[in-house]
């Protein structure tokens, strides 16, 4: 995933709100799926750099990785699909039905008045 651009996009969305509410951001929660994964370390690093000297400086960024639910076409078992260790946990089959992968979302932010 492209963490710097994601960090910039999150920052712009939050900055709009801190300006509107004359507040500073203390915490934000984002979520991503399995086929658009985020590297937490890289995103945090990029966000901290961008946020320096702004009302977002020091903000805690929570990153949720939403599992991708799959069901095995062979044995029917439901499981959380791991892109890097594919295979049904029960029968090792490689044929699955997937639920839709989670989009990259800015879910929630918490502001504190200045």
């Amino acid at each position: 995933m492209h963490e710097t651009m994601v960090a910039q996009s999150i920052f712009e969305s939050i900055q709009q709100l801190t300006n509107e509410h004359n507040a500073r951001a203390v915490e934000a929660t984002i979520s991503c799926g399995q086929f658009n994964p985020i590297n937490d370390e890289v995103l945090n690093f990029a966000f901290d750099l961008i946020a320096k000297g702004t009302p977002c400086e020091g903000m805690k960024l929570n990153i949720k990785h939403i599992p991708l639910s799959a069901s095995c076409k062979q044995c029917g078992v439901r499981f959380d699909y791991d892109v890097y260790k594919p295979g049904c946990p029960d029968c090792n089959s490689m044929e699955f039905d997937f639920k839709e992968d989670a989009p990259l979302l800015l879910e929630e932010i918490e502001l504190e008045p200045n």
Binding site: F35, F96, L104, I109, E110
Partner: protein
């Protein structure tokens, strides 16, 4: 104060992609976003396609590279309009760059516009450009482990072209493994084997293209 947003993070790119997509729909253009590693043969496939389908399908190409207009020149030499986007460091094209590029070619009169993305199997897959469909190219010399290493890109493909198939006897490359690994993440994409250099399998690609234009 907590504010619930549930806002798409790359929404600016997506809004712009939506406008591109409307432009393609309004003008009856099929837009294909072509993604692969550097050196897989994207430009060679497109150049050969332009030569072979001259007079049948009107094609223009938007080329994305970090530097140089080498690829756009090759496309023009093959007989099609091309515009080069030099990203100057960025590893993928954005929808906004495509909007700008569309003004530099006679886009409205085309049947097909190919967007040849920056050679990269990671980042381009996350940025929609407004395309109708995605073409992913994997060439034999890259090795048969690419689909399992870069599942995100292969998961979102509509057609996967296995290029340089004429080299398969010289390289340790298992077609069975590649197809099985693609099927783990993508059970719908058509998988076509071809060689843009020898012409082997190109007719299957053209037929796929024709079928999508008429849809």
């Amino acid at each position: 104060m907590k504010i619930s947003l549930n806002k798409k993070i790359l929404d600016k790119n997506e809004e712009c992609a939506m406008q591109n997509s409307e432009f393609f729909a309004d003008n009856d253009i099929l837009c294909l976003n072509v993604i692969s590693s550097p050196g897989s043969g994207k430009t060679t496939i497109l150049s050969q396609t332009i030569r072979d389908l001259t007079g049948e399908i009107k094609i223009a190409v938007i080329e994305g590279d970090i530097r140089t207009d080498i690829d756009a020149k090759k496309i023009r030499a093959a007989g099609a309009s091309a515009v080069q986007i030099e990203t100057k460091g960025s590893c993928h094209l954005s929808a906004q760059q495509v909007t700008g590029a569309l003004m530099a070619i006679p886009a409205a009169g085309m049947d097909v516009i190919f967007i040849e993305n920056v050679g990269n199997l990671v980042c381009p897959s996350d940025f929609v450009l407004g395309e109708d469909l995605r073409v992913v190219v994997l060439s034999v010399p890259e090795g048969d482990d690419k689909p399992i290493k870069y599942p995100g890109t292969f998961a979102k493909a509509d057609v996967i072209l296995i290029n340089k198939i004429d080299l398969i006897d010289y390289i340790d490359f298992s077609l069975e493994r590649v197809i099985a690994d693609i099927r783990v993440v993508n059970d719908k994409a058509e998988i076509l084997q071809l060689s843009a250099t020898t012409g082997e399998g190109m007719e299957n690609w053209y037929n796929w293209l024709r079928s999508k234009i008429t849809q």
